[in-house]
């Protein structure tokens, strides 16, 4: 089973530790992982801003890098959803389709493909989980409060295997944090207010960390937490699942 590691551009540039944790975790679980070296971005920033027409170059580069693998795994629900819904390559349509079908967000890859039942991880802290919208509502990583369907959560399932962790749920378990891609700058006031409200619910729970499957949401929350001088930190779920403190 050959796995390609897809590290979204902003993780590559600003949060290499998330990529490292993802790679180490997959290797620990016995996976044969490769990082295709010429990867850049999935094209989502352009497409979500109305410029899907400008994401062709990204698509072509993506297909070039990620063809021929059994699975493509990324520590981001949002980028994975974008690839699943919008990756197109007219000269290599079969490869593009294979990628769309085989691309997985990290936690769903662990629960659904590797069927992980236990982890040798230890994280003795109080943690709040932020359910990122694209992973949750787009990839169905967990049940949603709006829908009248049975409850489940792939990230919670994995976090519950971590020794010492104490999960604390916020009051609104699946409200958006307000990052929203370029929304975070073009609708700055709403974006910030949404983020502050998320943080407030986690602070009431007295958590040490806010975790989640999308570094983009966490980056937004981290920026707000640091500005207010909060003691709450953000951490990607891969870092918790890979931790062996």
């Amino acid at each position: 089973m050959k796995i390609a590691l897809f590290i979204p551009c902003y993780i590559d540039q600003f949060y290499p530790k998330v990529g490292i944790a993802t790679l180490q975790l997959l290797k620990k679980l016995g996976c044969d992982v490769e990082f295709p070296l010429e990867q850049t971005c999935c094209g989502q920033p352009m497409a979500n801003s109305g410029f899907a027409s400008l994401s062709k170059g990204c698509d072509v580069n993506f297909v070039k890098n990620f063809s021929g693998f059994d699975y493509i795994v990324a520590p981001s629900g949002s980028c994975v959803l974008h690839v699943k819904e919008h990756l197109k390559d007219d000269t290599n349509p079969i490869e593009a389709e294979q990628i769309r079908n085989n691309v997985y967000e990290l936690t769903e890859f662990l629960t659904d493909v590797l069927k992980v039942k236990s982890l040798k991880a230890k994280f003795p802290y109080k943690v709040g989980l932020h359910n990122s919208c694209h992973g949750q509502r787009g990839l169905h990583l967990s049940s949603m409060t709006e829908r009248m369907l049975p409850e489940f959560s792939k990230p919670e399932q994995l976090l519950s295997m971590v020794e010492g962790i104490e999960l604390r749920k916020p009051k609104r378990n699946d409200e958006c944090c307000g990052f929203g891609g370029t929304f975070c700058v073009f609708e700055e006031a709403v974006s910030v207010k949404m983020g502050k409200d998320r943080i407030q619910e986690h602070e009431v729970n007295d958590v040490d960390f806010i975790t989640g499957g999308d570094t983009s949401c966490l980056m937004h929350l981290e920026g707000l937490l640091k500005r207010k001088g909060s003691k709450v930190q953000t951490i990607h779920i891969a870092e918790i699942l890979n931790s062996s403190l």
């Binding site: 620990k28 070296l37 979500n48 990204c58 919208c133 699946d174 974006s191 207010k193 640091k226 500005r227």
Partner: protein, 457 residues
């Protein structure tokens, strides 16, 4: 250019305690909706039925409209067709003129808001009294409704008290809801008794029977229609449903989605005029045919105006209805309004994080957040986008299509952030206004991987 959603939202949020109150109030309605929906094991099935009935209706709309007209005429209702807002307003005006009527009451109708009927009639010297309590409040204040089901949801009881003190001479500073409601009740009762003509909206028009249903919680549509000599019901053509039995799906979905009630207090069925009464129906297109022709957006016409997408939307709850600067605000408004005026409403599809909660609560399964995404593509391709954004996106596209360039610029950028933090951490950067920038590491993940990751881990 008029003020866009982001600027209006910023103004709204400047009063943070009020924003919190607005958010909590609407979240309370969303929570009531969840509870009501959870009470029905068949909820998801009902949504599917609602969606399918509306799909069928839209696919055969011309036939159902003809069937409806035929049956309505047979019932003794006069049927009018209006291609746009102007024709709609003229038709209503003509009926008023013909009867030489001065006193008019109107129950809630978002269509007449969309057509700006009140302003049109005011311009022609005719005053209309809105009889829905929330609508009467905003009418006194010369404001548009901020929500399609809860028109005055942006106001607190203190605001209502001040407004009623000014217009109804209630005691200054008396904020007791009971007292204020009673004052409105007495005021409106006189208006009902005096009125000669009642205008109502339509929630559902039934092709099979030629009748229509109006849902209110206050009974004000009935009070108006039952006392007036002339009843005019105004509807967008998408209000049609094929059969009376379809109501058993929609009436259950509507109130639960809107307010969490099992059913609206009054679901009033109108089929024919009373003896000596005249009953009119004005069927309005106003851009709906065009939307029907847009494959990606046609199913927005399935909307039954429950406003569940408003109440769940984390942006709407924090930006207020007026930030959408259109009659129908919220996520559904953001996919309907670009069709009416793409240039004026080009900002609206971007007033969303695409979180998808709207599509999840929609009782007729409109893929609202996907349509927001698609409208963004249409708006950009039609050129309604700021030049700066366009240039930025072209730059990003170039960078991400060229791996070497991406890595080089990334490296220089991170170095610049470390060496000259003030280049980024300044007022011109909207991220930095209220948030710290992420730290810029020396090594990218790829750098690390080449050194450490390939064989070791």
């Amino acid at each position: 250019m008029k003020i866009t959603h982001d600027a209006l939202a910023e103004k709204f949020i400047a009063d943070e305690p009020r924003t919190d109150w607005h958010d909590e109030t609407l979240w309370f309605v969303r929570a009531k909706r969840d509870k009501a929906a959870h009470g029905l094991p068949e909820w998801e099935q009902l949504r599917e039925w609602g969606s399918q009935i509306k799909n069928r209706t839209l696919s055969n709309l011309s036939n159902y409209l003809i069937e409806f007209e035929k049956n309505a005429l047979a019932n003794g209702i006069k049927v009018h067709w209006a291609s746009d807002a102007k024709e709609h307003n003229e038709i209503v005006h003509e009926i008023i003129k013909k009867h030489k009527i001065q006193k008019i009451v109107k129950s809630k109708s978002m269509l007449t808001e969309e057509c700006h009927l009140n302003e049109y009639l005011h311009h022609h010297g005719i005053e209309v009294v809105d009889t829905d309590l929330g609508e009467r409040i905003v009418q006194f204040r010369k404001e548009p409704p901020s929500h399609i089901v809860l028109p005055a949801i942006h106001l607190k009881k203190e605001d209502v008290s001040a407004t009623f003190h000014e217009h109804l001479q209630t005691e200054k500073g008396n904020n007791d809801p009971q007292y204020l409601t009673e004052a409105a009740r007495q005021h409106l009762r006189n208006k009902f008794v005096e009125s000669d003509l009642a205008i109502t909206g339509v929630n559902f028009a039934i092709a099979e029977t030629g009748g229509f249903v109006v849902c209110t919680n206050e009974g004000n549509a009935d009070m108006g229609a039952h006392t007036a000599k002339v009843h005019i019901a105004c509807m967008g053509f998408e209000k049609l449903i094929p059969k009376a039995e379809d109501l058993s799906v929609f009436l259950r979905l509507l109130a639960r989605s809107a307010t969490g009630q099992p059913i609206t207090t009054y679901s009033s069925h109108f089929h024919k005029p009373r003896p000596n009464q005249e009953m009119h129906i004005v069927i309005v297109d106003n851009g709906r045919s065009k939307q029907l022709g847009r494959e990606d957006f046609r199913n927005s016409l399935k909307c039954i105006r429950c406003a569940a997408c408003f109440n769940t939307c984390p942006v709407y709850r924090r930006s207020g209805g007026h930030s959408y600067h259109t009659a129908v605000a919220g996520p559904i408004g953001s996919i309907l309004n670009p069709n009416l005026d793409m240039k004026a409403n080009a900002d609206l599809p971007f007033a969303s994080t695409l979180c998808g909660s709207c599509s999840n609560v929609c009782p007729v399964k409109i893929n609202i957040h996907e349509q927001l995404w698609k409208w963004r593509q249409v708006i950009v391709s039609e050129g309604y986008v700021a030049t700066g954004k366009k240039v930025g996106m072209k730059g990003a596209s170039f960078l991400f299509s060229n791996p070497k360039m991406y890595r080089l610029i990334g490296k220089i950028g991170r170095w610049g952030m470390r060496a000259f933090p003030l280049m980024i951490n300044n007022k011109a950067n909207p991220w930095f206004k209220q948030r710290e920038m992420p730290e810029a590491p020396k090594e990218s993940f790829r750098d690390w991987y080449l050194k450490n990751g390939k064989n070791k881990s």
